[in-house]
C-alpha cells in the first residue's frame, strides 16, 4: 500500500506509480524511448508482487494497443504507454479504441516523429493523432503528470464520456527530469477513483458482438455520438479537476486551461506542456521590469476548449503560440487550431515554431517571441 509521501522522482517513474495506484488488471506494454521506464517500473511492480496485474509483453506497439482493445472488450481496466514511432504504429487502432468507446488511458512521452530519426522532445506524435477521437491532456511538470494520470481514468470512465484519454508529457523534459512530487495515499486514490464497472463486455452468459461493420446508414451517427461525448468531456474534465482539488488540494486552472498573469496582460504566449514552466520564469522577469505578459497553457487539447479560450483571452490583444509540431504545408498545428477557435475575435495570433526534434527552447527564444508580439510583428521559426 502506498502511503502518501513527497519524493524527488522522474516523470516516467511517478507516472508508473500513478498507474499502479489506479489498479489496472492487465498491462500490455512495449518499450520505446523516452517512455521506456514506465513499462520497466510497472514490470518491477508486478514481478515483486506489488501490483496485481497481468503483464503482456507484446512484440510491437500495434499489438500493445490491440491487446489493450481486447482487454477493454472483456471489461477490465488497462493501460499502456508509448511515444513517437510507437504511437504512429498504433495509429490504425487508435480510432478503433475511441470508436468502440473504450475508456482506455495511455501515457505518451512526446517525442519527434521520424524522418529523420530523432528521440528528443516535440509534440508531433500526439498532435498528429488529434483527429482520432481521444481526449488529449498535456502536463507541465511531474506533479501534474501524476495527478493527470489519476484524473484521466475518472474522466474516461464517466458514463457521459466513455472516451479514451492520452496523457501527454514532454519526453526527457518530464520523463527523465527529477522533480519533487507529492505521491498520494492509495486509500485516497481508491476513494477518488472507484472500480471500473463497464456496461457491455465479452461475457459467455450474455453474448454480444464487438467490432461489427457499420454501413453508410449508421456509421455517421456513431461519429456524432463521439462528438457529443467530447462536448460532455469539456464539463466532466472541469468537474474532475475540482473534485481532485477538493480531495488532494491541487487543481490545474479549470482543468481545461491554466492561465498565468493574464489579468493585466495585453500580450500573451500560448502553449501545450512543459515549455509553460520556462515561459512562467520569463514572465516573472518581465513583471519585475513592469511589463505584464500572460501565459495561456492549454491542458486539454482535445476536446478543444473554445469557449473557455475566448473567455480568458477577452482582454488580450496579441497571442504568440509556441508550436512544437509543424503541419507541413500549413504551418503550426496548434496555431491553426487557436486561430480557428478565436476566429472573429479581435486578437492578433502568431506562430512561433520551436523545439522541434528536442532543440532547446531557452529563455532567449521565449523573450524573442514576446518582443516580436509586443512589436506587432509576424511569427517565425525560433531556430
Amino acid at each position: 500500500m502506498i502511503m502518501s509521501e513527497r519524493k524527488v522522482i522522474s516523470g516516467s517513474d511517478v507516472m508508473a506509480h500513478a498507474v499502479k495506484m489506479c489498479r489496472p488488471k492487465v498491462l500490455p506494454m512495449f518499450p520505446i524511448t523516452p517512455s521506456t521506464l514506465i513499462p520497466e517500473r510497472l514490470s518491477e511492480f508486478v514481478f515483486n508482487g506489488e501490483l496485481d496485474a497481468k503483464l503482456i509483453h507484446v512484440e510491437s506497439e500495434h499489438s500493445a494497443i490491440s491487446a489493450l482493445y481486447g482487454v477493454y472488450a472483456t471489461g477490465v481496466r488497462s493501460f499502456t504507454a508509448t511515444a513517437s514511432q510507437g504511437l504512429a504504429l498504433m495509429h490504425e487502432i487508435i480510432p478503433i479504441v475511441s470508436g468502440s468507446r473504450f475508456p482506455a488511458v495511455m501515457a505518451v512521452a512526446n517525442r519527434a516523429l521520424s524522418g529523420p530519426l530523432n528521440i528528443w522532445n516535440d509534440q508531433s506524435d500526439t498532435i498528429s493523432e488529434r483527429d482520432q477521437g481521444w481526449i488529449q491532456l498535456y502536463c507541465e511538470n511531474n506533479q501534474e503528470a501524476f495527478d493527470t494520470l489519476i484524473m484521466a481514468y475518472k474522466i474516461a470512465e464517466n458514463s457521459k464520456v466513455l472516451t479514451p484519454v492520452m496523457v501527454c508529457v514532454d519526453g526527457f523534459y518530464l520523463t527523465h527530469a527529477y522533480e519533487p512530487v507529492q505521491i498520494e495515499d492509495q486509500k485516497d486514490v481508491d476513494e477518488f477513483l472507484p472500480e471500473y464497472k463497464p456496461l457491455d463486455f465479452l461475457d459467455t452468459s450474455s453474448p454480444k458482438t464487438f467490432g461489427a461493420f457499420a454501413q453508410p446508414n449508421s456509421y455517421m451517427d456513431f461519429k456524432l455520438e463521439q462528438e457529443i461525448a467530447m462536448e460532455n468531456a469539456l464539463k466532466v474534465i472541469s468537474e474532475v479537476n475540482s473534485e481532485f482539488g477538493k480531495k488532494f488540494g491541487r487543481t490545474y486552472g479549470d482543468g481545461l486551461i491554466e492561465t498565468y498573469n493574464t489579468s493585466k496582460a495585453k500580450v500573451a504566449l500560448l502553449c501545450l506542456g512543459s515549455v509553460g514552466g520556462t515561459i512562467k520564469e520569463v514572465i516573472d522577469e518581465y513583471k519585475k521590469k513592469g511589463k505584464e505578459i500572460g501565459l495561456i497553457r492549454l491542458k486539454s487539447y482535445r476536446p478543444f476548449p473554445t469557449e473557455q479560450l475566448k473567455k480568458v483571452t477577452k482582454n488580450i490583444k496579441a497571442i504568440g503560440v509556441i508550436d512544437k509540431h509543424a503541419s507541413i504545408g500549413f504551418g503550426g498545428a496548434l496555431t491553426n487550431d487557436v486561430k480557428a477557435a478565436l476566429f472573429g475575435e479581435k486578437v492578433q495570433i502568431e506562430s512561433f515554431m520551436a523545439g522541434l526534434g528536442g532543440r532547446d527552447i531557452d529563455r532567449a527564444k521565449i523573450r524573442d517571441a514576446i518582443e516580436t508580439m509586443m512589436k506587432g510583428k509576424s511569427g517565425k521559426w525560433l531556430k
Binding site: S100, L162, N217, S218, D221, F222, E225
Partner: protein, 108 residues
C-alpha cells in the same frame, strides 16, 4: 431503491435510433445474438433442392454439410430443408449417399 429501478427502465426505453430506424448502441456493440436470422437468405436462390423424405435414410450428412445451418432434424428423425435460409448451393445434394435430394430451377 425505487429511483434506481426507474433509471434502469428509462435507460432501456431510450436506446437511440437514427433516422433510418437503426438502433445506435454505444460503440456499435450488437446486443442481440443471432440477429441475422431476420435476414432471409432464401431469397438468394436460383436452384431449389428438395429432399425425398421417403428415401431419406436419416444419415445426417446433409445437416452436417450445410454452411448455412438451413437443414434441420424433423420429429421423425428425417432431415428437412429450411427454405427461409437455404441459398441453393446444392452441397446437400452432392453429399447425400442415397441421392434422395434433387433440384430444379426455382419458380418465383
Amino acid at each position: 431503491m425505487a429511483k434506481e429501478k426507474k433509471e434502469v427502465v428509462e435507460k432501456k426505453d431510450t436506446t437511440k435510433v437514427n433516422a433510418s430506424g437503426i438502433p445506435l448502441n454505444m460503440g456499435a456493440v450488437i446486443l442481440e445474438p443471432g440477429s441475422t436470422k431476420k435476414y432471409k437468405t432464401g431469397e438468394w436462390r436460383t436452384f431449389i433442392p428438395m429432399i425425398d423424405s421417403t428415401k431419406c435414410i436419416k444419415c445426417g450428412q446433409c445437416w452436417m454439410t450445410c454452411p448455412d445451418a438451413a437443414i434441420f432434424k424433423a420429429e421423425d428423425g428425417s432431415f428437412r430443408i429450411n427454405y427461409t435460409y437455404c441459398k441453393g448451393c446444392l452441397l446437400c445434394e452432392k453429399v447425400c449417399p442415397v441421392k434422395c435430394i434433387s433440384h430444379k430451377v426455382e419458380e418465383k
